[in-house]
């Protein structure tokens, strides 16, 4: 029988390895589905993701040029993946976010998906969002399957752009882990 003291280093080493694997881009542990997105009374992750195989959460900034440059791209992505049941949700986690302002932004930008105000930044904190256009793809179990930028072009989409989000969604819908589970985010600092 192995003594607890002798097995302790192995246990610690295993834990460290697991942490390293997690830190290096494996499937992230599931989020608490009861986390409210807007306010304590607002919709929870459970409610936002219910029935969708994948949910794309994009952190939004109303005054960020990079955000504006991605409006068309986001609308196109949402239309492309809607038949597969992929849901898009934008979250305004800046300190001055209000439901009224975000409703105006949703209409002005002709978003086919909602912009939810989260002025407390709780969801940004739990998902590690620092910049606008930071995107997280959650599966039905609220596990983070992709995180980072939408693509590699901040303002002007070029022919050699790397489409991080699109490729990740294609991989996930095909039953594969994303080849690139983390992409670089290029948006503005979220004002907290």
């Amino acid at each position: 029988m192995t003594s607890p003291l002798r097995s302790a280093p192995r246990t610690v080493a295993t834990a460290v390895c697991l942490l390293l694997v997690a830190a290096c881009g494996g499937v992230k542990p599931p989020l608490d589905g009861a986390v409210p997105v807007i306010t304590a009374q607002g919709p929870s992750l459970d409610e936002l993701t219910r029935g969708a195989p994948l949910t794309v959460v994009v952190f939004f900034s109303s005054h960020c040029p990079c955000q504006r440059a991605h409006d068309d791209r986001l609308r196109a992505l949402a239309a492309t993946y809607a038949p597969a049941g992929v849901r898009f949700v934008l979250v305004d986690a800046e300190a001055d976010a209000t439901p009224q302002r975000d409703e105006v932004e949703t209409k002005a930008r002709r978003y086919p998906f909602p912009v939810l105000a989260n002025p407390s930044g709780s969801l940004a904190d739990s998902l590690g969002a620092e910049y606008a256009t930071y995107t997280v793809v959650l599966d039905a179990q609220h596990r983070v399957r992709y995180q980072g930028g939408i693509d590699s072009d901040k303002q002007h989409l070029t022919e050699d752009a790397r489409f991080y989000l699109r490729n990740a969604l294609d991989d996930l819908l095909a039953g594969r882990a994303p080849a690139v589970p983390q992409g670089k985010t290029l948006g503005c600092v979220l004002r907290r």
Partner: protein, 315 residues
Amino acid sequence: MSISRELSLAAAVLTAGLLRAPDTWAQACCAGGSAVTPARLGLHEDYLVGVQVKVADVPGAFDDVKGRYVPGGAGTSEVDLEQDLVAAVRFLHRGQVALDVPLIETRRAVPGYAEVGGGVGDVNLGGRWDFSLAGGSRVVPGVAALLGVTFPTGRAADAAHNALATDATGIGAFQGTLGVALEQTFGPFYLGVNGLLSLRSPHSATTASAGMSTTTTETLAPQGSLVVAGAYVFRTEAALGLSVACNAEGNAIIDGAVVPNSSRRQTTLSLLGAVPLTDVWRLQGTLYVTPPWTGLSFDQAATLGLSLVLLRSWS
């Protein structure tokens, strides 16, 4: 490196920051500037290289008593040209290091004589560490530590060969700079303040007179710099701003003795502009002047100049 060159560098640096400001209408953040480097990486940029071109006219000078502007005499003139190769690289997400290699040319004329000289100036290596980012909080501004070293790769005035010292391109001493940068955004407006302190190493100067050469040890006094800049960032991501920079230093020391009335001060006003050409190319410009108002500058050349910087970045 002359004070005027440092000031114009600081102005250029602020302009470099302005090009980040466009990033940020949420990010007017990135305007500020490491006053020890002429190029500053944008928020998500990993590397950049660039070229800076400057031209300046020196129509006069400020006296060392009351700081009165004295126009150059008839037949005298000075034109300063400079080209800088700059590069910057990011490390550990919050840090960046920048290198500036200047080439300097000067044309001076006095009645009956004119000459042109130049060469490599003092190479500068600057670093910046951002503890917090402008625009990231409504309360806490962006705070950064600045660190710089200037190497005496140029020729000091006392080592110049040309009669009018047009081949002098540096201060002849190492210079270490420490500073802090504060910056914040208010919607499309950016405000930044940089404070810097520079210390110079002693250097030997040899002068020849009547067939005898004399070597002295000179130490320039510590120099303090304060740069305040404000800018407006348009939705097109172009930016336009103003900055005020003030450099001041005490009396120099030669062979252990303080040299009276050798302290200097220079105040520079700059109009700053930046235009992103593409996601990776940007152009920025600075029109700078030492205003000819009494008391703002002492024992310094008066300067009116223009600088343009073209930068290519990688994210």
